[in-house]
């Protein structure tokens, strides 16, 4: 069976690529072995948050030119990175999530531990704060938990916030909403994860006409007249942003929804919006099957074989490899080497195993292994034993040459490289067919 493009991996990078191919009218298949890192992600998108010297980045697109050679963003250039993110915001909006940003500038998003992380796009429920003055306009912040929710610790958040000098003058209060006051009739609330609370609320509270006002008055009671009310993201999986908005109208308060320990509802929301968008565009999504090998002919990948259908290779003109990093099993390591698990492409590594990481896991200095991953040319084509594979593109966390954690660049790199792969693929169709295929 033959496709125009086959995308391997259904995370942020793979979905972005697949959506763009499908939108251009290409016969596209997306194969993903399991769910992606989006199930844990905050639901905000980082483009570039920190410089090499750990200083905060104000304007991420401007800072791209100062990144080291070989960084994926350097291959794209600031303009294309910006275009790709605009494309992404447009697609999310079509799927019902209006992402917000502070112009070209980064904002701060609050984490459940009270840290401040730079990001460029956030879901509306995240209530982005200013990067330079995150506490501007805040006199009192109320941190409210659903009593017993084990994925969120208000005291930890408060302690984290107090460490920021900006928040020195801000009064922090902690409150609880008791499960029975909002009709939660669970076996034991103390066993519940954020996802389970969301499901129970949908069934027991929001199914009732007065559900929303019941919750609103519970929030009012717990929060008083705070300038910002922080809640764990436990309220809804799908329409969480709309729900926060309605609650704001009812309470007259500004509500901020924080992603909890995994599973993260805002991340799941993003993943399901993107999948839905891809499906609407006529894309074929195959979940739970895994690409196990490729049939290469010199500089081309001709077809792939999957675990569940080993005797029927799938053929395509173009392929995108977006299989993620170690967690998603796109990359694999053993005591002496690092490999791309799918096709055994050439990877960027450095030296002996003992030099791959620092002694201390979280001491602020960078771990060399974070930069490891597939090596590519400027078009994101990988190499196999030194030979460029021209119709295969790599995207997202499987790439080497950048440090997603230390730079705060994971989401942006996934989106922009996935977008570029699709751009190059669709451009070749306009060449072949002689008519112009969409290019954003």
């Amino acid at each position: 069976m033959k496709y125009n493009s086959i995308i391997i991996g259904g995370g942020l990078a793979g979905l972005t690529s697949a959506i763009r191919c499908a939108e251009a009218g290409l016969k596209t298949a997306l194969i993903s072995a399991g769910d992606s890192a989006l199930t844990f992600a905050s639901g905000s998108i980082d483009v570039l948050g920190f410089r090499q010297n750990n200083a905060l980045v104000d304007y991420p697109f401007e800072a791209i030119s100062q990144l080291p050679d070989g960084h994926p963003y350097r291959k794209l250039g600031a303009d294309q990175v910006r275009q790709s993110l605009n494309f992404f915001t447009g697609q999310m909006a079509q799927a019902g999530i209006e992402m917000s940003c502070h112009g070209q500038q980064n904002h701060s998003r609050l984490t459940a531990l009270g840290a401040m992380r730079p990001a460029w796009l956030s879901q509306p429920g995240a209530k982005p704060l200013s990067l330079a003055e995150p506490a501007a306009g805040l006199r009192r912040v109320a941190i409210i938990n659903i009593a017993g929710c084990r994925d969120f610790q208000p005291a930890l958040l408060a302690a984290g916030l107090k460490k920021h000098t900006d928040f020195a003058g801000v009064e922090l209060t902690i409150g609880d909403i008791r499960a029975d006051t909002i009709s939660l009739t669970a076996r034991n609330v103390y066993e519940l994860r954020s996802l389970e609370i969301a499901r129970l609320l949908k069934r027991d509270l929001f199914s009732r006409p007065e559900g929303l006002t019941t919750l609103a008055s519970a929030i009012n009671k717990a929060a008083g007249n705070a300038d910002l009310v922080v809640l764990p993201s436990v309220l809804a999986v799908e329409n969480g942003n709309q729900l926060i908005h309605q609650l704001e109208a009812h309470t007259g308060l500004r509500l901020c929804e924080l992603a909890t320990l995994p599973p993260s509802l805002p991340g799941m929301r993003m993943a399901s919006a993107l999948r839905q968008r891809y499906r609407q565009l006529g894309g074929l999504l195959l979940e739970g099957d895994e690409v196990v090998s490729g049939n290469f002919d010199n500089d081309r990948l001709l077809s792939i074989t999957t675990r569940l259908n080993p005797s029927m290779p799938l053929t395509a003109d173009h392929f995108v490899l977006a299989t993620g990093s170690f967690f998603s099993r796109g990359l694999d390591s053993n005591p002496s080497s690092l490999t791309d698990k799918t096709f055994n492409l050439d990877v960027v590594t450095a030296g002996q195993r003992q030099h791959w990481s620092n002694q201390h896991f979280l001491n602020g200095s960078q771990h060399p292994f974070c930069y490891f991953g597939i090596e590519t040319n400027d078009h994101f084509n990988p190499y196999q034993e030194g030979q460029v594979i021209g119709n295969l593109y790599c995207a997202g966390a499987v790439l080497g040459g950048f440090n997603p954690v230390a730079e705060a660049s994971a989401g942006g790199v996934a989106i922009s490289t996935g977008w570029l792969a699709a751009k190059q693929i669709t451009a070749q169709y306009s060449d072949v067919r002689g008519n112009h295929v969409e290019s954003h």
Binding site: D35, E287, L314, F327
Partner: protein, 398 residues
């Protein structure tokens, strides 16, 4: 012999991804979800069988958790095997009746008109509900007066005249309840110059037996089927099945769940659409006329799990004039025998609600799905007729 415990569940990273996709955990808060019921629970159960949790009975074995797991843990299978090991299956007359589909079929089919009339009657339904615990709100599958095998026997001569031959594992439903899909398959393959032969004997693949804890019976069936396959594969290219759950079980569950070795034939067991799509790709395409319909496609859980959706979509897309809208990949909730049980009715209906709503909101001529159990559930809960992809393909033959 050294009895090694299978500890592959230990690949679990505790990431909770599986729980986000479990339709039962979403619909029924009494179910702790795949992570806790599967790998978490397994660690405890190995230490102490007393820690077996009754709530595992809620799992429908839809395998959505396995599809979602980034670490390749066979969560659904872990749960089924734990239930088997710890006496977690209730095996009353109801379970026997619902799961022994071939026995029930051979008893009911000869008296089809009477059985069909009976199972429609309110008092009979009430009685089954009260005495057996089969929910009276369910519509029962009808039985056919002429089984697929007896229809087929009349044309085995025609089939034998083709040079290329495949073996068809028809399964219980096609044989005893509705032979349409079997007949459509024969028509499509014949149009592609391929003849169909049946196995001399076949037994239920075992899906309902596994789901109700009759593992020994399922294993016996599996052994018989495998010896039949080995025999018929000397004369035919491969064995194909039109029912996704049958195909998945014959190919993947025999070794994984029943420990029946099928390695000698495994790569020659195909889901029908996969076989046909491969023929299409090789240029063996029948002449087709347009079928100007707008249909919604529902992907069955076990077809997703077996990696077969791509082939069904390929077939549907090859039919000229057919407009296909893919529904959200959600579970319909029936899960074979699960939804027939009184205590599961609510969960089953609430799982399927998303699909029913989506179908009602779409303006389509038909719903299409590969699975007969999904068909029952969708037809009972929406006002649309549900067709098998092969039926549409057969309609497009010139």
């Amino acid at each position: 012999m050294l009895n090694l415990i299978n500890t592959s569940f230990d690949n679990c990273l505790k990431c909770t991804v599986c729980t986000t996709r479990c339709p039962v955990a979403e619909a029924n808060p009494d179910y702790p979800g795949p992570k806790q019921a599967g790998p978490d629970g397994e660690r405890l159960r190995i230490k102490n069988p007393q820690l077996y949790d009754e709530a595992l009975k809620h799992c429908t074995n839809c395998k959505r958790c396995e599809v979602a797991c980034p670490s390749g843990v066979h969560v659904g299978t872990v749960i089924q095997l734990a239930k088997a090991r710890h006496g977690g299956f209730k095996k009353g007359p109801r379970e026997f009746m619902l799961s022994h589909t071939d026995l029930m079929g051979s008893l009911s089919s000869p008296a089809a008109p009477i059985v069909n009339a009976m199972t429609k009657l309110k008092p009979v339904k009430k009685l089954l509900d009260k005495t057996l615990g089969i929910d009276q709100r369910r519509t029962f599958p009808k039985y056919t007066g002429e089984t697929f095998r007896s229809w087929f026997n009349k044309q085995s001569g025609t089939q034998a005249s083709f040079q290329r031959q495949i073996s068809f594992f028809h399964g219980c439903f096609t044989n005893f309840n509705d032979p349409t899909v079997g007949k459509d398959l024969v028509a499509v393959l014949n149009a592609m110059n391929i003849g169909v032969s049946l196995l001399k004997k076949e037994k239920c693949c075992g899906v309902p037996l596994i789901a109700n804890g009759f593992f020994n019976k399922a294993r016996k069936n599996a052994e018989l089927n495998m010896s039949q396959f080995a025999h018929s594969l000397t004369k035919t290219e491969c064995v194909i099945a039109t029912e996704p759950s049958c195909a998945m079980t014959l190919r993947d569950e025999y070794p994984e769940v029943l420990e029946v070795d099928n390695s000698a034939v495994k790569d020659r067991i195909f889901f029908a659409a996969a076989f046909i799509a491969r023929e299409f790709a090789r240029g063996n395409l029948p002449d087709m006329k347009p079928v100007p319909l707008r249909v919604a496609y529902h992907s069955p859980c076990h077809l997703i799990k077996a990696g077969g959706v791509i082939y069904t979509m390929e077939l549907l897309n090859s039919i000229p004039g057919l407009e296909v809208i893919m529904l959200d990949q959600k579970c319909c909730g029936l899960s074979g025998t699960y939804g027939f049980k009184k205590e599961n009715y609510r969960t089953s209906q609430s799982i399927g609600q998303g699909i029913f709503d989506q179908i009602e909101a779409l303006d389509v001529d038909y719903v299409v799905t590969d699975c007969q159990s999904c068909k029952m559930q969708v037809e009972m809960n929406t006002d649309r007729t549900v067709l098998h992809p092969l039926t549409l393909l057969a309609q497009s033959l010139t």
